[in-house]
Amino acid sequence: MEKNFYITLFISVLLAGCAGRQPEPVSAYYFGDENKSCETLKKEIGDIQKRMLAILPKTDKTVLNTLWTLGGTVISYTPTPAATAAGFVPYLFVDMKDAERIEYNALARRHNRLLLIAQSKSCDMNDIRAEPIPTINEKAAEDKKSK
């Protein structure tokens, strides 16, 4: 029983920081983009905006990662051997892969490229938001400047 516990613990330490999934960033361009009709472009731009809105809350993992790390530290310094050992389990949940942030930035880049194509075709974009979307870093820099 105890042996199994320590084996699990050893694996936990090895896997610390492995939470999260691999990012799958979209390309800024896909073959045939320039031949798409205004309707198709508008639909795709709208879909990207919806996807970006859904991803946005998950892009900043700082608070969650900090909580997992602090949790692990607090538990592991509890003066009982089992707690000290179990304190490493929260490290498993630390997400360092930044998948959502990378995918958001890639979507922003594709969105802005499709917008350029739509503008070059003089598409009527009145019914959707037709402004370039900044990446997370660009937005942070803009916010900093405006303050």
Partner: protein, 185 residues
């Protein structure tokens, strides 16, 4: 049995708290990612707009396992390198341009503790003509950099050294390939 348990606890505390400290607080520096020389044989006439590099990892305050390459740092180093290499007439970050250059980091290893740290970074570079909005050149390639035992003492420093090296090599290779493309035009 009690002794074994004590040893295991000490090892776990070391792995969980000392190792991260050894790796901590070392995000790569953009000025160290700029190649010293550029192999530029061909030039592309016109200006280029560089979009922010996608795929970099921003520094997280916890748990600071390893050094990381941030998108901003890579973009800064790339913008400066492109300007210095003189492959385009001018490099802009905003506004109108003749070309748009998109760079995506597709994968980069996270190094493990070791005497020598080797990192491989795979990137895609895509150059788009703004008149047609069709890419005129796109290449995916990877570069590997080995940080040697003598490069740094602390794992954190060595990891940072390796990241800076792999980005530097990647930028150098990308500019070389861009220049080769310019020769074919």
């Amino acid at each position: 049995m009690r002794r074994v348990r004590k040893i295991i606890i000490v090892l776990c505390v070391f792995a969980g708290h000392i190792v991260p400290i050894l790796f901590a607080g070392c995000s790569a520096r953009p000025e160290k990612m700029i190649p010293p020389d550029f192999d530029v044989s061909g030039k592309i006439h016109g200006s280029v707009k560089l979009t922010e590099v996608v795929g970099g990892h921003e520094s997280n305050p916890f748990p600071l396992w390893t050094s990381q390459v941030g998108s901003i740092d890579f973009t800064k180093a790339l913008a400066y390198s492109l300007a210095r290499a003189g492959i385009f007439d001018s490099v802009v970050r905003k506004g109108k341009s003749d070309y748009i250059l998109d760079v995506t980091i597709l994968s980069s290893d996270r190094p493990l503790l070791g005497l020598e740290i080797s990192i491989t970074m795979k990137t895609n570079w895509m150059l788009t003509d703004t008149k047609t909005l069709i890419p005129v050149w796109s290449e995916t390639f990877d570069t590997t950099y080995n940080a040697k035992v003598t490069d740094a003492v602390l794992p954190a420093e060595k990891s940072r050294f390796a990241y800076e090296g792999v980005v530097r090599d990647n930028i150098e290779e990308g500019i070389k390939r861009l220049s080769a493309f310019a020769n074919t035009r």
